[in-house]
Amino acid sequence: MSRQRPSQRVRRSRTSLPIIALSVGVLGVLLVCGVCWAGYQALQGGLADAVPPPNEVVLRVAYSPEKDVLFRDLVEGFNRRGEKTPAGLTIRVEAVQLEPEEMLERALAGEFQAITPDSSLWLDQLDRRYAERSGPDATLIGPVTRYAVSPVVLIMWRDVAEQMGYPNRPIGWGDVLARAQSDPDFKWSHPSTASASGILATLAEFYAGAGKTRGLTEEDVNNQQVLDYVGALEKTVRYYGEGEWATAQRVKQAGRAVLDAFVGQEQIVVWLRQQGADVVAIYPVEGSLWEDHPLALLETPGLSDDQRTAFERFSDYLTSEEAQMKVLASGYRPADLSLPLDSPGSPLQPANGVDPNQPQTALQIPPPAVVQVVQNAWWETKRRANIYLVVDTSGSMEGQKIANVREALRLFIDQVKSDRDSIGLITFNSQVYEDVPLDRLENNRAQLLAAVEGIRAGGNTALLDAVNRAYTLLQRANDRERINAIVVMTDGLENASAITLTRLTAQMRDGNRKGVPVLVFAIAYGEDADKEVLQRLAEATGGQMREGTLETIRNLYRILSTYF
């Protein structure tokens, strides 16, 4: 082994110097190029565009609440597949739950690339509104895919249906409406006309009032005799509510006492049966309507090819065998016609209270303009309400809590659209104050809003005394034609009332039996609220207890406004 001499090492180092310098120079050029290019890109695209280019394409789809469980499951199933566009972008579907009315507004504002409301009725409404903005021939609705359908039915407890002749005699809207008018204890409900099942129920009433089964016109809807007929029927509705799915969940929780019958899609019958409720689907003999859950692409000018591809892939998935089996298992009728409804394992069996051979006929859906008039007329004919807003203003409500409640109360008052509904405001801390007496909104809307602005926090919590005051005032008013309700909210524990919970609930049960039925909708605001007390107040009257937070209180009051 030979060793190099020092002079050799020096000569070699000197020879490699230019190579090293050249390498450093090239690296330096590349480095500076990179820095300059990044700077150039940032200047070209602005800071926002300096974010790395997205590797996914998002399809924003708005869906209606009644299919929440199924649709979320389908979206998750699709996203898990990690489908890609031809350009290699991962497709992701983002699902946003919205009531159809809000869905339409936000679709017109360009927030979504696709929508899937409960019925195609809304597609017509959307196109109509779009044409008003963009010209008579303009359409927003592109290709439509159907993946699940379900007829709208009357959902009844079996014993109630049997009393009406089920299963030996066909039952219709007329039977239910006659029963509701003749039996004050009969409790039925349909959603507002903000959902397809609510529209169907209302259309059925207008058809019955006009003595027709088709060809309903604007003149029919505005005819005073028809309006009186519908108004009389609407007075028999127990309450409205945020939709069929919420009603179904309520029936599941509270059971038989809540309602005798309500309007919803057939799938809900299957779901309730799976939860142990003995309900059956009544397919109205005069005709039904279909919730067809269309998935529609919105042909907005900004729609990209990647989003179009995403829609196609999602549509393909929804009609795939995997998705269609999920659809059937959830109690919907799948769009894949090769799947028999009576196949083994299908929940659409007579044993589940449904009949796959029904419905035999459907009510005629009037044109969008007439449907709009029906929706408007419903606001005038629907059952009026007397509502006491009972609001906790104790010291624990101070700060953001009371600020959010003020906003929520304003929203509630705005949402009750008819000026003929009545609202009163009671606040409580150590004492109970009737800030605004119960009166029609045409008389006191401004006063209510001003009082809400003036709400301040301080003192203890006389919750029970406040509810008692509202209840007594409603009993005293003795208005049987209206829905009578108390919407009470508290964030703490009862600590200042004269009346006890036991006495108050007994008093309310007795009062509801002998006097005017009053419903208590109780809101437990935050973690410290006395949920047990609120639950017992609600239960005593057939009402509901809901939990709210700083973030959800506004929406909760909005939801409760749909009950009136």
Binding site: G25, G28, V29, L30, V32, C33, C36, W37, Y40, S119, S120, L121, L123, D124, D127, P136, D137, A138, T139, I141, P143, V144, R146, V149, P170, T213, R214, T217, V285, G287, S288, W290, D292, P294, P301, G302, D305, R308, T309, R333, A335, L337, S338, L339, P340, P356, N357, Q358, P359, Q360, T361, A362, L363, Q364, I365, P366, P367, P368, A369, V370
Partner: protein, 399 residues
């Protein structure tokens, strides 16, 4: 300045020159990478809904096979759109390269040749020339055909024939105005009133074709004029007929599918595209009962012409790439495949009377491989179509 500083300044200078050069090249419209010749040739094809499932399947296969033209791979993108809606978008200038416009399709397969002629005549007024050629290499060529036939649930068809005789628009008009509904017609009371299926004419050209066909039978001739469709007696008759449609809103792209999906609850029957009926025959049988197919006296044909956009917005290579896909659709395997979608092939080499054909499968339900003697409805002109659409808007959509 010492040597290190000189080197540093040189490095920065070179880098700035490189970046500036690249930026200038890019601003001038140059492509940095990959080279243009390696990019696929994009064919954007607007396709009428009745042939879309077949054409989409062919496009997927075509793309997988990586066909090339002048060394570049052709990629076909399908945009499904009703023919009438597409016509409206062409005429309103909604396709094009500008912001807010949808990308201009390289080619279009509308439902019928007359839609091409209508778009051409609109552009002739605007730009003084046709935008779709009707002769020569790029002429519109049919890729498959289908016709309108009656599809009616068997129990309902039997009751109608017992009461009124052979099924026709006149028969159905009588059923539509029967005040007692099926009880009066001879069906079961729980069937409600007679319910006709007609697609929404603003969403599906089949709805418009149905109204034109009804006018043909009303006047007992195949050519319909504006004077015919504005006649108050005809309009009253048509309004009564359309009064039997249960729901226009849910009858969108595929009315045959709706007929099978919602069954006789939503429609007892209607005059629909034969292909649409054929692919849904099994479904109606699974969910409800069999459909009966009958052929009307005056037949409306759709020929689905493949039509290449001739404007300068697309290159000659893109136009030729579109023609490559057209040839693919006209090839024997894909013409045979069209039959399984219920379409009649344009290739004389392909028969609909094959053992696995739906035409054969549903012969006993009235499907004819060879049509009985019928009269072809003539293509309506623009004024007739627009008059009927306006009439529909005013009298039916807002009835």
């Amino acid at each position: 300045m010492n040597r290190t500083r000189v080197i540093f300044v040189v490095i920065v200078g070179i880098a700035v020159l490189i970046v500036a050069g690249a930026a200038l090249f890019r601003a001038a419209g140059g492509q940095v990478s990959p080279p243009a010749s390696n990019q696929p040739l994009e064919v954007r094809l607007l396709v009428a809904l009745p042939v879309e499932p077949w054409v989409s399947e062919a496009a997927r296969q075509f793309n997988q096979e990586r066909h090339t033209l002048e060394g570049r791979v052709i990629h076909v993108t399908i945009v499904p759109m009703d023919g009438l809606a597409a016509m409206g978008r062409y005429e309103r200038g909604e396709f094009g390269p500008e912001e807010g416009q949808q990308p201009l399709p390289t080619a279009w397969i509308p439902d019928s040749r007359y839609l091409v002629e209508l778009v051409n005549s609109a552009y002739k007024e605007k730009v003084g020339r046709d935008v779709f050629l009707t002769d020569g290499e790029y002429r519109a060529r049919p890729i498959a055909i289908s016709l309108f036939a009656w599809g009616i649930y068997t129990s309902r068809a039997e009751a109608l024939e017992r009461k009124y005789g052979p099924i026709s628009w006149r028969t159905l008009h009588d059923a539509a105005i029967a005040p007692g509904g099926w009880r009066e017609i001879g069906g079961r009371p729980e069937w409600g009133y007679f319910k006709l299926i007609v697609p929404h004419p603003r969403r599906n050209i089949g709805g418009l074709a149905a109204m034109v066909a009804a006018a043909g039978e009303y006047y007992d001739r195949p050519d319909i004029s504006v004077a015919d469709v504005t006649d108050p007696n005809f309009q009253q008759w048509l309004k009564e007929l359309m009064g039997a449609v249960t729901d226009f809103s849910s009858l969108g792209s595929y009315p045959g599918e709706n007929l099978a999906l919602f069954g006789y609850s939503a429609g007892d029957g209607g005059q629909l595209l034969e292909s649409d009926l054929l692919i849904n025959m099994a479904g109606s049988l699974t969910r409800w009962e069999p459909l009966r197919i009958l052929y009307p006296k005056y037949v409306t044909w759709f020929d689905f012409p493949f039509t290449v956009w001739m404007g300068t917005e697309t290159t000659a290579l893109e136009k030729n790439a579109a023609l490559e896909f057209e040839k693919y659709l006209l090839s024997r395997p894909w013409q045979e495949r069209a039959v399984s979608y219920g379409l009649r092939p344009v290739s004389s080499e392909v028969s609909v009377d094959r053992p696995d054909s739906p035409f054969n499968q549903w012969k006993d339900r009235g499907v004819a491989t060879v049509l009985p003697v019928t009269t072809r409805m003539r293509d309506p002109d623009r004024e007739v179509l627009q008059t009927l659409l306006r009439w529909f808007d005013l009298n039916v959509a807002r009835r």
